[in-house]
Symmetry: C2
Subunit: 147 residues, 2 copies
């Protein structure tokens, strides 16, 4: 299996497959005489695992750990669960930050008549020097990273 087929079979782009190899998330693929990477069904299985973990928002670092745990048949399920729970906590943190932003914006938008007239509580809310906007959550939880 060439890298293109492996990509289609796993849902991971060829670019990312090479990248994952480079950063040692996966072991280097075997090569043909012409240096083409070849993939076995087992490799595809690993790539799918990675794709699932990625879709659930795990970072490359976390995936490294998860892959190691996956391969280690004697590891304790508690080790896996811990990572999952930590990730859940992180997701909930981000969800809270997004919810706070949404709430503030909706509040501002609901008071904006949204017609031809220029006065607008939204932009006024941004500009006010008073502390009405609760951006504490965003700041505290590093919301800038929630792209």
């Amino acid at each position: 299996m060439n890298i293109g087929e492996a990509s289609k079979a796993s849902g991971v782009s060829t670019k990312m497959i090479r990248y994952y190899e480079q950063i040692k998330l996966i072991t280097p693929a075997l090569r043909t005489e012409a240096s083409y990477r070849t993939y076995t069904d087992n490799d595809i299985h690993t790539l799918r695992f990675i794709r699932r973990a990625r879709d659930l928002g795990f970072s490359v670092e976390q995936m490294k750990t998860l892959l190691a745990l996956w391969r280690d048949r004697s590891r304790a399920s508690a080790d896996v669960k811990l990572i999952a729970l930590e990730h859940i906590a992180e997701l909930e943190r981000k969800a809270a930050a997004i919810a706070a932003m949404t709430k503030t914006l909706k509040h501002l938008a609901s008071n904006c008549h949204g017609d031809d007239r220029p006065d607008c509580p939204i932009i006024d809310g941004f500009a006010e020097t008073l502390g009405e906007i609760d951006h504490g959550i965003g700041a505290k939880f590093g919301l800038a990273s929630v792209k």
Copy 2:
């Protein structure tokens, strides 16, 4: 006012103030003879505006537009509201993606006893070739970008 004071007064780091100047989000600051940037109260006002918008999750591109609308006293409030509503929609999209990830992970974790034994539904869920994990939302909504 030097850049350090401006940073403290606005809550925007000196690094970011210089960056915002470089990418032309803000106009270049006046300079002293020794090339030190100086900031007026008006500049601080603008920086605070930026900080608020940033805390609400607006991108630099969106902030460029918002700043232009802020300065344009004759623009329609509808123009501002549209941007806000679009951003709200984007936030809700991300919230949905995060919620889907959280739900799946919680489901997997709840079935994992989390003790010394090796069998673990979480990691099995990642590895399964069947389609149990609903990563459709993550895929559809570009969840990889929700860092």
